[in-house]
């Protein structure tokens, strides 16, 4: 049985930038332990001699011609933004007080 602790789930949620509630941490701790047990079986057949596959059809050096392509204008880019000033996305403070 994989032991995934509450603290680990909270740490992962911090890395993933999701402010989980206490109830969510509780249920995820239980669920993840069971899921990790199931998926950890991949180790059984993954021998050292087997190469890894990251893409089903490997392609290399996929480049386009170095010319100006189709780009979005500011108006299109900002149309879906929660906040902007017409030229830049607007966000709240990057640094907190303690930083």
């Amino acid at each position: 049985m994989s032991e995934i602790t509450r603290e680990e789930v909270q740490h992962l949620a911090g890395l993933a930038r999701i402010a989980l509630t206490d109830d969510e941490v509780t249920s995820l701790t239980t669920e993840l332990s069971a899921i990790v047990d199931a998926i950890a079986t991949v180790r059984e057949i993954a021998g050292d001699d087997v190469p890894a596959t990251s893409h089903p059809v490997p392609l290399t050096n996929v480049l386009r011609a170095d010319v100006v392509g189709e780009t979005l204008v500011h108006e299109q880019t900002f149309a879906g933004a929660p906040s902007h000033d017409g030229e830049r996305f607007r966000v709240s403070a990057i640094l907190g007080e303690e930083q």
């Binding site: 995934i4 680990e8 789930v9 992962l12 949620a13 911090g14 890395l15 993933a16 930038r17 999701i18 402010a19 989980l20 509630t21 969510e24 995820l28 669920e31 993840l32 069971a34 899921i35 990790v36 199931a38 998926i39 950890a40 079986t41 991949v42 180790r43 059984e44 057949i45 993954a46 021998g47 087997v50 190469p51 890894a52 596959t53 990251s54 893409h55 089903p56 059809v57 392609l59 996929v62 386009r64 979005l72 299109q76 880019t77 149309a79 879906g80 933004a81 929660p82 906040s83 996305f89 966000v91 709240s92 403070a93 990057i94 640094l95 907190g96």
Partner: protein, 504 residues
Amino acid sequence: MSGDLTRLAGHELAGLLASGDVSSVEATQAHLDRIAAVDGEIHAFLHVNDGALDAARAIDARRAAGEQLHELAGAPIAIKDVLCTIGMPSTAGSRILEGWIPPYDATVVERVKAAGLVALGKTNMDEFAMGSSTEHSAYGPTRNPWDRERIPGGSGGGSAAAVAAFEAPFALGSDTGGSIRQPAAVTGTVGVKPTYGGVSRYGAIALASSLDQVGPVTRTVLDSALIHDVIGGHDPHDSTSLAREWPSFAAAAREGAASGSLQGVRVGIVKELDAEGIAADVQARFRETVDVLTAAGAEVVEVSCPSFAYSVAAYYLILPAEASSNLARFDSVRFGLRVEGPGQTVEDVMAATREAGFGAEVKRRIILGTYALSAGYYDAYYGSAQKVRTLIQRDFDAAFEQADLLISPAAPTTAFKLGEKLDDPLAMYVNDITTIPANLAGIPGMGLPMGLGDDGMPVGLQILAPMFEDERLYRAGAAIEALLADRWGGILTTKAPELTEAAR
């Protein structure tokens, strides 16, 4: 005659449009009326295109002016909400993108529009395509037109239900681990996952980039082929798009249907997908179908793919790992939801936004993916899963030395009841065993009807072909469809129970 137009196969409707017997406005209106009448109960659509009739009028005008149009011009099509569409919200079934209207069209959307197809609207799906039942949509589940208490499959349950309920003749889907083929199986419809790279992913909101593939969802094999011909081919906007010439899949489907023969075709039954976990009624329909294939001249052999036993485990490592990276873009800065309070830093805002905007399954998989990619676990989990991927490709290579096509049930059971597996993520995951190996290997696959289960619900057959050999799916699939339709007196969707049309 508008009531009848929704019952025609897509290619039949397209024929009437091309000959001028039916206008695109009539065809589009008939489907909009059908949506208005039944979608309150089915909930296949998240958004209905209020510009559909204008688009139809424009096609009619071009045809009237004598312009040579594509053979599908004027026919309506439903679009899975994972695909970006100018002028229509594109949410991928998530609150975090509620109301978001993309500034560009997905390449596949651009191509169906260029062919003159008329977008009816956006179809429901599990949030970010994570799920096998559409119950993980933030906007409520889609119901199976055959039995509204049952799931329509997922993630593309909306597209499958839309074509099964005659709300659209054509639809687009996306398949990361079976999201086109499994909904086809449980709704008695047809769907194809093309060879990886055969269809552009540009503008498809990414779930797992090395697995995702866009494809057609229809009621007949020929209709899927026609759509595949429109959406397929190289796209410079997608760096994984294959630069190769593809044959006409519609031609292959027409030839297959006309011959009604599988003479000389070597068909492999995957031993590992033909036993454990497959329901008795699904197995029975599968045996009967194998008999039909044999009678049609196919040479049936058994093949073994021992690594498939590890495919679900590998998939549920690779997918969350890729998804956790892909979904990092939903950061409250450039698009979608923002949840903020006074005095919060941008990091607090991101965390609050993602907490509010993502559903339970999405959070589960992002956290799982983050875990799998963590220092100390990476080699054991993600690294091993990538090795399993190699082993599965080798299994397929060996199997395709013995067989031209592989077949299996497309899903282990008929449609389960809404809510039945919702509280048990693992039970939902193992249900994908039949479809996942094709995504891990990148090969093409088709789901198509092979009869009804003991509960009167559709049972699906899966056909798999080697990499780049999508044509074989259409040739054989159309032949099998024709052979089964002969026995049934029509394709399976004609046997679906009538839906009560709400008063208009």
